[in-house]
């Protein structure tokens, strides 16, 4: 049970219901797909059937949003059982989730909430990662979330928390480069220092996504193309990690499949050895309200028939 044997899957796309028919019919030349675990775990209708079909054709990664590894509630073993059952069926290359908590006292906020980063939360998270890895019988890959506040109770930077966490548990990292940029702007830290100091050998996967710059803060909206500064950070992260499986997330205003794929393929322009020369200035801010951590909610499809 080690992250060392996990493959570099190449450039992948998020599996979205809008693209199901296109993928099944056209079998596009995409390296791999990432499925949101919760959209399929308790689904026994078409979405799960489609996922099974796509998993026969492409490598799949299961990416979760509800493990709540940082919650002070007990681990939800009903959730883990359902997750493990889906994993047995789909055989993903790995299972990932976020360094966050989604709720406490049995409530689920369906948000990826930030943790105070200190010794107590580190030990709490490490203990739970070990339990999850033992239960799933495979390493867990955890993603740095986009954050919109910092706690007074934090005593270490996030990159340091991640370094200790991976060292103590053997888990892998899903480095979301856009989240680094968003969190850095919102919480006054240097994204370049962050990328330079994370444990690069623990990074199994990277995420890219679009965000909305609101002037005084940035929201991780996943609803547009990747910002120039994030591409530059990706260039640095690619050089530091030596290159790992990379995926573009797009959850709002999802474009046609070919547009989505083309945006992902831009990553190739930033995989060269060209020196990282710094981050460009951010774009002009928008003042429209944006929602963080958008949810891809599956809607039932219905065929109407005349009365028999």
């Amino acid at each position: 049970m080690s992250i060392n044997n996990l493959p570099d899957l190449g450039l992948g796309l998020g599996l979205r219901s809008k693209h199901f028919n296109h993928i099944l019919a056209e079998q596009p030349n995409v390296d791999w797909f990432e499925a949101i675990s919760e959209n399929f775990m308790d689904s026994y209708g078409r979405p799960r059937q489609v996922l099974k079909q796509i998993a026969e054709q492409y490598p799949i990664v299961m990416h979760g949003v509800s493990l709540s590894i940082g919650s002070s509630d007990p681990l939800n073993f009903a959730y883990l059982k359902s997750l493990k059952t889906l994993a047995k069926e789909i055989k993903p290359a790995w299972i990932s989730d976020h360094l966050c908590w989604t709720g406490t006292l049995t409530i689920n906020s369906h948000d990826l909430l930030p943790l105070p980063l200190n010794e107590e939360s580190l030990q709490h998270v490490c203990n739970r990662i070990r339990m999850v890895q033992d239960y799933l019988e495979q390493p867990l890959i955890l993603e740095n979330p986009s954050t919109y506040l910092s706690f007074e109770q934090s005593t270490m930077p996030e990159w340091q928390f991640l370094a200790h966490m991976t060292e103590e548990t053997g888990c892998g990292l899903l480095l979301d480069v856009n989240n680094v940029y968003v969190s850095a702007f919102n919480n006054d830290f240097d994204p370049v220092e962050y990328i330079e100091n994370i444990p690069h050998h623990r990074v199994v996967q990277m995420h890219l996504a679009g965000h909305q710059h609101c002037g005084d803060y940035i929201i991780d909206t996943h609803d547009r193309r990747v910002a120039g500064a994030v591409w530059e950070l990706f260039r640095l992260a690619w050089q530091k990690t030596g290159g790992v499986a990379t995926l573009l997330e797009w959850d709002g205003d999802i474009p046609a499949f070919d547009v989505y794929h083309a945006e992902m393929l831009k990553a190739k322009n930033f995989m060269s050895d060209n020196a990282f020369t710094g981050l460009p200035a951010p774009p002009i801010a928008e003042k429209e309200t944006a929602v963080s951590n958008p949810i891809h909610f599956m809607v039932a499809e219905l065929t109407m028939n005349p009365g028999p």
Partner: protein, 287 residues
């Protein structure tokens, strides 16, 4: 130099933050000085840092806004016809209040709206009036139907079977695994279909209506029924054979035996064509 803040256990930090996410609508005023319910004297600035651009309160507000907007958007997708029927503003008000009363306790978002129809019924605007208006009844029926559609879409059931053909002996016919019938006091199916076809339907007047929703090969289909068909199918769903179901209908004085026998061949033909049935292998129990 600012002294370090006192350590607060993780569980209390999380309960504090969740409280302010879930109770923001009616308690933000009380918490502008940011008292934690069980930590008298603890200020927001003891918990959350100011940044160069935003105050601690503004940082927290980003989470508060997104919590409500995100779940309201899910409700809107799950109850899209209801949102159209109520209008965006009224739907939003109902959804926000519902989410305050029933925050999600499941990782599965499909169940987010599970209690919404019952909540609408309990909180209908005319609940204290002696004479009730019609439109809340329609909204409640529509909400129940929309929620049911999502559940049926995801229902666990056998899919690997062939529908029965016309030559299958009648005593072997049974309804396919995913098959549900609905009875309404409004034309809910008509309204739902008109909405999904973007026909901008008007609110309908009361009118009994019935329909069946079935799933085969992971595709949902919907069929209109009349009252007799609905009752017969209900008996089949409860495990009766066709012969028993017809007898039940007769015993309940809901169908004249000869009339039923005269229309049955047509019903059976159309239902077989629509894929309502599969054949039960000989010797297999009904249930």
């Amino acid at each position: 130099m600012t002294p370090p803040k006192a350590h607060i256990p993780l569980a209390r930090v999380q309960q504090w933050m969740q409280y302010l996410l879930l109770r923001q609508g009616n308690t933000l005023q009380d918490h502008q000085q940011h008292l934690v319910p069980d930590d008298n004297g603890l200020l927001l600035t003891d918990m959350v840092k100011d940044s160069k651009r935003l105050s601690a309160r503004e940082h927290l507000a980003i989470y508060q806004r997104s919590y409500t907007a995100r779940l309201r958007d899910c409700m809107s997708k799950q109850f899209s016809a209801l949102e159209y029927a109520l209008g965006e503003d009224l739907f939003r008000a109902f959804a926000d209040e519902y989410l305050q009363c029933h925050p999600s306790t499941s990782y599965n978002l499909i169940t987010l709206g599970e209690k919404f129809p019952a909540w609408l019924e309990a909180n209908r605007p005319d609940k204290d009036e002696v004479v009730k208006e019609d439109w809340p009844d329609f909204m409640i029926e529509l909400a129940r139907f929309e929620y049911a559609i999502h559940i049926i879409f995801e229902e666990e059931a056998e899919e690997d079977f062939l529908p029965a053909t016309g030559d299958a002996p009648e005593e072997t016919l049974q309804l396919i695994p995913v098959f549900h019938v609905f009875a309404f006091s409004f034309p809910v199916r008509w309204y739902y279909q008109a909405f999904t076809n973007k026909l901008a339907p008007e609110l309908p007047a009361p009118q009994e209506s019935y329909c069946a929703v079935m799933r085969h090969q992971y595709k949902l289909s919907i069929y209109d029924l009349n009252r007799g068909q609905y009752l017969l199918l209900q008996h089949l769903l409860s495990g009766h054979t066709i012969r028993q179901a017809k007898a039940q209908l007769h015993n309940q004085n809901t169908a004249d035996r000869s009339q039923l026998e005269s229309v049955w061949p047509l019903w059976k033909k159309k239902w077989l064509e629509a894929g309502f049935f599969r054949s039960r292998p000989a010797g297999t129990p009904i249930h």
